[in-house]
């Protein structure tokens, strides 16, 4: 477990300490059952003079859902964007520390960014489908990556992946729990879909390039309760095959869908990272307790 604070506001008797030790040992056993997909070590991020992330270390287990929670401006979205180097696009951003994907440093100067973002996909707060057909939204990424080819040129060169594209579109839409709702209008413009459908299309688009990790930045914050429930069900299903890291302002959502939760507090500090049950039932840190029970923040 990563714990970047040494605060202990609780007084515990020896017996209580032993009991906590037992619970912690059970948690460690659970965590060690899961292989680390992303290992973050001593990560610091500055935007100019603003120290947005302070010395954060955490291991993100594969095939699970990791929630990042905390008040506005605590750095959780900045941290998420560090995981696929989206902050590289911000000139004022300076990053120190290490982020390893399957043991390989993603901040290596020779790292292939296109390949990295294929392996670590991202879904944003507001659905952002391309102003194209539903089918083209799905096939755009694989075509750009050269995974599928179709059209006149492809036929001339003896390669026409039209059938393969159809399979990919169906598979991705099914994985995103959208196929049944759109299979009769794949050539309609994606902007005609509802907000919840657009967001699931964006997830399908992300899945189409066969990622290993999916980063989600408040993916349901603009959706109604039914669309939110569909996204939450989907996230749970995706975690069987993918590693999901999700930023959310909705603490009940974090409690419902995540396996482990990281709590960032003001100043870019990771205060506690533990099993979601532990965070929401009996957190170690009094600051985390105060935050999640609404006593501050």
């Amino acid at each position: 477990m990563s714990e970047t604070t040494s605060e202990t506001d609780r007084t515990a008797t020896t017996t209580a300490g032993e009991s906590e030790e037992r619970i912690r040992s059970e948690w460690t056993e659970y965590r060690t059952d899961k292989r680390t997909k992303i290992a973050v070590e001593n990560l610091d991020v500055w935007y100019g003079d603003d120290h947005a992330i302070k010395d954060v270390s955490m291991d993100i287990p594969e095939n699970s859902v990791t929630a990042l929670i905390g008040p506005s401006g605590c750095g959780k979205s900045t941290f998420l964007r560090c995981l696929n180097r989206m902050n590289d696009r911000i000139k004022a951003a300076r990053i120190e520390g290490s982020v390893e994907l399957d043991g390989t440093e993603i901040y290596d100067p020779n790292a292939n960014l296109v390949e990295l973002r294929k392996r670590i996909g991202m879904v944003f707060q507001s659905p952002n489908p391309f102003p194209k057909s539903i089918r083209e939204n799905i096939s755009y990424g694989p075509r750009k990556h050269g995974d599928i080819e179709k059209g006149l040129l492809a036929r001339l060169f003896g390669r026409d992946d039209t059938e393969e594209e159809a399979e990919l579109v169906e598979r991705s839409l099914r994985q995103a729990a959208l196929w049944e709702e759109v299979n009769d209008r794949l050539d309609d413009n994606a902007l005609g879909l509802s907000g919840g459908q657009q967001q699931r299309l964006c997830i399908a688009r992300c899945l189409a390039v066969d990622p290993e990790v999916i980063l989600m930045d408040e993916p349901a914050s603009a959706l109604d309760p039914i669309a939110t429930a569909k996204i939450e069900d989907l996230v749970e299903e995706l975690a069987e095959e993918y590693t999901v890291v999700i930023v959310t302002h909705n603490m009940q959502q974090a409690a419902r869908i995540s396996d482990q939760t990281a709590v960032f507090l003001t100043g870019g500090e990771l205060v506690e990272y533990d099993d979601t049950d532990k965070i929401f039932e009996n957190p170690e840190s009094q600051r985390v307790e105060d935050y999640i029970t609404g006593k501050f923040g």
Binding site: R10, T11, A12, T13, T15, A16, E18, S19, E20, I23, M251, Q252, A255, I279, F280, E281, N282, P283, V288, E289, I292, T293, G294, K295
Partner: protein, 219 residues
């Protein structure tokens, strides 16, 4: 303050649990008095008074469900509501045990010389009072002390049970049916008192967990 409504609901819940505690303690006190004094009228009051306890138990349950549904409590708040839910069940069962004791008083007093039921009852009652005194703050030393006292009470109840059996064996003469019925009544009363002690420990354990996050006495 952002959580003023939740704080109001939690205070209302604490008040309701305290009211239930008062009712359950009164029932237990009266049942023990009825048993000690062979007072059938008081025993009847205890039996009839169980409905009030049940009503208050349901009121606590309703408040807990409201807080769960409307406030989605987490961390210390969650433990507090869960503890109130569990403690209210313990108190309702204490009142049921008081009812059992009162019914034995209605059946007539059957003192076995070796069994000081009044003393055992007083110990169990004091344990429950002290456990409820810790609610909701849950001072760790006080909660652990109640668990220690329960170990003593268990031993005393076991000894009392042995005494009844020994007296049955050694007192061979007399009406066997009456002797067996009296012995059964006393043994059941001892068991009821012993279980009051267990509920006192449960109250202390849940209070400690709610206040400190320390599950030691639960498991």
């Amino acid at each position: 303050m952002a959580r003023a409504r939740l704080d109001r609901r939690l205070e209302e819940l604490h008040d309701a649990v305290r009211e239930l505690a008062t009712l359950a303690l009164d029932q237990l006190r009266d049942a023990l008095s009825a048993l000690a004094d062979c007072d059938p009228a008081l025993a009847r009051e205890v039996v009839d008074g169980d409905d009030r306890v049940n009503d208050q138990y349901l009121a606590v349950e309703r408040l807990c469900i409201d807080v769960f549904a409307l406030e989605q409590p987490v961390a210390g708040d969650l433990r507090t509501v869960a503890a109130a839910f569990k403690i209210s069940t313990d108190l309702e069962r204490v009142a049921d045990l008081a009812g059992n004791l009162a019914e034995r008083a209605l059946d007539g007093c059957t003192p076995f010389a070796e069994v000081d039921l009044a003393s055992l009852g007083a110990r169990a009652l004091a344990m429950l009072e002290d456990a409820l005194d810790t609610y909701p703050e849950g001072e760790a030393w006080a909660c652990h002390e109640i668990a220690d006292r329960d170990t003593e009470l268990d031993a005393m109840c076991a000894h009392a049970g042995d005494s009844v059996v020994r007296e049955l064996i050694t007192t061979g003469d007399g009406d066997t049916e009456t002797l067996v019925a009296d012995a059964s009544a006393v043994l059941l009363a001892v068991r009821d008192v012993e279980r009051v002690g267990d509920h006192a420990v449960n109250v202390a354990a849940r209070t400690l967990y709610a206040a400190e996050g320390d599950p030691e006495l639960i498991y």
